[in-house]
């Protein structure tokens, strides 16, 4: 892991990628990030001259889906180029080294690039019972995160587990899983949620970090360029929603006609991601296009936000059962109140003295 002074220009040359192709790549990344063509050119300019960036990738409570997402492209893509270019000094799934050697590589990178390396995290961090539920080389995830984050320039949390706790955090959260931002408070953190995130989103953000620094983020630390719009706002089925044309089941007429999947539980309206525009598998499709509603995987607690196949407008805590119980409890309380009212009326009856003619100034 030397070659510190290697520039991407040389790498491109080695791979036989023309400058024009590279510029096209930067323009496409730039367009999904809503950069102007001029800025895309600047990005291309900067990228070819930037030094290899040291990256440490920590995987905690995760399923490796995020890594799969970024590495498993149908064809060798320019996206992967970014990963080829950075100096991925530690990634326990991808690296060849294992055991002590692997950990040593991490420590070496931390030492050599103190304050300059980028830390990428996927997976959530268990903190219950001192974090015993997930350890690497005898070290808890919590300790390792704190140790590595200390000298990082910036942190990129990849996937919903690292950004929001994800599935491990789902109720009842047996390991006490939390997100990176729950632990690290003194470093810039870029959240790239999704289960998994879209590959180009990951590479795009990295390209931005390498060239322009940290991109503009929303209130949840997500790059606005990719997470600024909801799936619903960009969904090609949106006109059906507006017209009130909904598929009622996955195999009905509406479903075949490609009507809106709201009634089948699509969480698109509250889910912020770039699926509807960037799409998956090199722009082939995305869940809604394939006929399934959005699960809302790039939003916090999506696993606990009610059934995937229940409409967004439904309650998640069985309000019906609450209503029934409340009616019964109310009946009991009402009867108690009725009892008090009855006795108060009975008292009034008892204390009542008839109005007589005498009261009116009469004789009897």
């Amino acid at each position: 892991m030397t070659n510190k002074n290697n520039l991407l220009a040389g790498e491109l040359e080695r791979l036989g990628i023309s400058r024009r192709t590279f510029l096209k790549f930067c323009t496409s990344i730039g367009s999904v990030m809503a950069l102007s063509p001029a800025q895309a050119a600047v990005m291309a300019e900067k990228l070819v001259t930037v030094k290899r960036q040291s990256v440490i990738w920590l995987s905690f409570q995760e399923c490796t889906g995020c890594t799969e997402s970024i590495t498993r492209s149908h064809k060798p893509s320019l996206e992967s180029l970014i990963f080829d270019f950075v100096s991925l000094d530690y990634h326990h799934t991808l690296q060849a080294a294992s055991g002590h050697a692997a950990e040593q590589a991490r420590e070496q990178a931390m030492h050599d690039n103190q304050g300059k390396y980028i830390l990428i995290v996927d997976g959530s961090i268990p903190i219950k019972d001192d974090g015993v539920y997930s350890t690497i080389a005898g070290m808890t995830n919590l300790d390792m995160l704190q140790q590595v984050a200390k000298d990082a320039a910036a942190i990129v949390a990849v996937g919903s587990c690292a950004t929001f706790g994800g599935l491990p955090k789902a109720s009842p959260n047996p390991t006490g899983a939390v997100s990176v931002s729950d632990i690290v408070h003194d470093k810039p953190i870029i959240n790239i949620p999704g289960c998994p995130p879209i590959p180009v989103v990951m590479t795009g953000v990295l390209a931005h970090v390498l060239t322009f620094g940290i991109p503009e983020l929303d209130s949840m630390g997500r790059p606005k360029a990719f997470y600024g719009d909801s799936i619903h706002d960009r969904c090609y089925r949106r006109p059906y929603y507006d017209r009130g044309q909904f598929a009622k089941s996955f195999d009905d007429e509406g479903a075949r006609k490609g009507w809106c999947l709201y009634e089948l539980g699509c969480k698109g309206p509250i889910t912020h991601n770039a699926c509807a525009t960037v799409k998956w598998n090199n722009g082939t499709s995305f869940p809604i296009q394939s006929g399934h509603g959005c699960l809302g995987c790039s939003e916090p607690d999506f696993w606990d936000a009610g059934g995937f196949y229940k409409a967004l407008s439904t309650g998640t805590n069985s309000p019906g059962q609450w209503a029934t119980a409340a009616l019964a409890a109310g009946a009991a309380a009402g009867l108690a109140s009725a009892y008090l009212n009855k006795s108060s009326k009975a008292d009034a009856e008892k204390d009542h003295q008839p109005v007589t003619l005498e009261d009116m100034g009469g004789k009897s």
Partner: protein, 422 residues
């Protein structure tokens, strides 16, 4: 002395029942009741908005009979009803309301506001706040026999005069006859031609009937006040008389509130069903018509309209008989724009015309009736309630209108077909 502020509050607690609780729970302060009330429409003063007339009662209901209200009271968010509150309410419950119930007909949630105003009056009376004139009327009724205070002798003189005029013998205290006839004081004193008129009609129809020397007054100031015990005494006098004479049918005269008292409230205030039936005189006449026993001759060709008395028509359910009878004797009967259940009140009922301080208001609100009559261009207004008749006559005179007012019974008597019988 059993009236006091505390007794008043006590009565209000006592009378609040499920309907009243449902009414207060449902009121949305939409103010539509005001649009139905002559005291608002003719004065423009929002204080007369009907539902406001029962505000003290609403507060008692809320504070005493709802958990929310109890909590509010504990937190000091609502103040208990004071003696002053009740005093201030007298004007609204007694002196500017005829209990005509037109408001009840428009309330979107269906609140029977008059049902509540009657109970409100009951509370005020128990608090000793009933208008003096109504109290005096109650004393006269029970001590002297009639609302206006005339004794039996006066009625007897009227009966004798009627006998002389018609040549028909009129019974007093005759047992086992078909009907016991009651009269209202106003009829005896002002419209006593009704005695002779009925004597003739009943003779032609072959109806046997009598007066009672113990119970000849149908008027019931106890009901206006909501003094249910006194109301009951007045009712019981009639019930006793009917029972002693073994009479199965009692006739309430052309008097709206008398009908309400004897027909609908009576059994409830005395706490038992009657052993006899009660009819409004117009119902009796309509029944005779149906049986072919009432025959008339000639038709009034002038433009004639009918004023439905609130307590008999809107509140009492007598709407069709008067129309059947009118069609017998008129060829030019014209309905008022708002009629039957939605007729506008004359403005003098519910005890209003006995309350001296209310006189200017009664005159003012007559304006609505005037408008109603004016737009019809009629010569005669017929009605079936002595109080309405009285108020109409006074209002018509006051406004220099050239309109005749008539009781329906009298109109029928004028057209009675007399078959010669020995």
């Amino acid at each position: 002395m059993s009236t006091s502020f505390q007794q008043g509050i006590n009565v209000l607690k006592k009378v609040i029942d499920a309907p009243i609780a449902a009414y207060f729970s449902s009121c949305t302060s939409c103010g539509l009741c005001a649009q139905a009330c002559i005291f608002y429409t003719e004065t423009g003063n929002p204080k007369y908005t009907p539902i406001r007339r029962v505000e003290p009662m609403r507060r008692i209901w809320e504070q005493e009979f709802t958990l929310v209200g109890k909590a509010k009271k504990l937190l000091g968010l609502s103040k208990p009803v004071t003696g002053q509150d009740l005093k201030d309410n007298v004007e609204l419950a007694f002196e500017s309301c005829t209990t005509c119930g037109r408001c009840t007909m428009v309330c979107p949630v269906g609140n029977d506001i008059v049902y509540m105003i009657r109970r409100m009056r009951e509370g005020l009376t128990a608090a000793g706040l009933a208008p003096k004139s109504l109290q005096a009327a109650a004393v006269r009724t029970l001590e002297k026999g009639s609302v206006m205070g005339f004794p039996l002798k006066t009625l007897e003189a009227m009966i004798q005069a009627a006998e002389k005029e018609t040549g028909i013998k009129i019974n007093i205290d005759e047992p086992n006859v078909d009907y016991l006839l009651l009269l209202s004081s106003a009829e005896v004193m002002q419209f006593n031609e009704i005695i002779g008129a009925l004597a003739q009609i009943f003779k032609e129809a072959g109806v046997s009937w009598t007066f009672s020397s113990d119970a000849y007054e149908a008027g019931n100031p106890g009901m206006h006040m909501g003094a249910s015990e006194i109301e009951a005494q007045m009712i019981n006098r009639i019930v006793k008389a009917a029972e002693q004479l073994h009479i199965k049918n009692v006739i309430s005269p052309e008097c709206g509130h008398a009908y309400m008292a004897i027909r609908w409230e009576g059994p409830n205030v005395i706490g038992r069903p009657y052993p006899f039936k009660v009819f409004h005189i117009i119902e009796v006449l309509d029944n005779l018509r149906k049986e072919g026993r009432l025959k008339t001759t000639g038709l009034e060709s002038e433009r004639i309209t009918f004023h439905d008395p609130c307590q008999a028509a809107r509140r009492g359910g007598v709407n069709q008989p008067q129309r059947n009878l009118l069609n017998m004797v008129t060829s030019n009967f014209i309905e008022m724009t708002d009629n039957q259940s939605c007729n506008w009140c004359c403005g003098g009922g519910g005890g209003m015309n006995t309350i001296e301080s209310a006189e200017p208001l009664v005159k003012k609100v007559f304006n609505r009736k005037k408008k109603q009559i004016d737009e019809l261009d009629v010569t005669t207004v017929v009605t079936m309630c002595a109080t309405c008749r009285n108020t109409l006559e006074e209002g018509i005179e006051e406004n220099n209108m050239n309109i005749e007012v008539m009781g329906l019974t009298e109109l029928l008597a004028n057209h009675l077909l007399k078959e010669k019988k020995s």
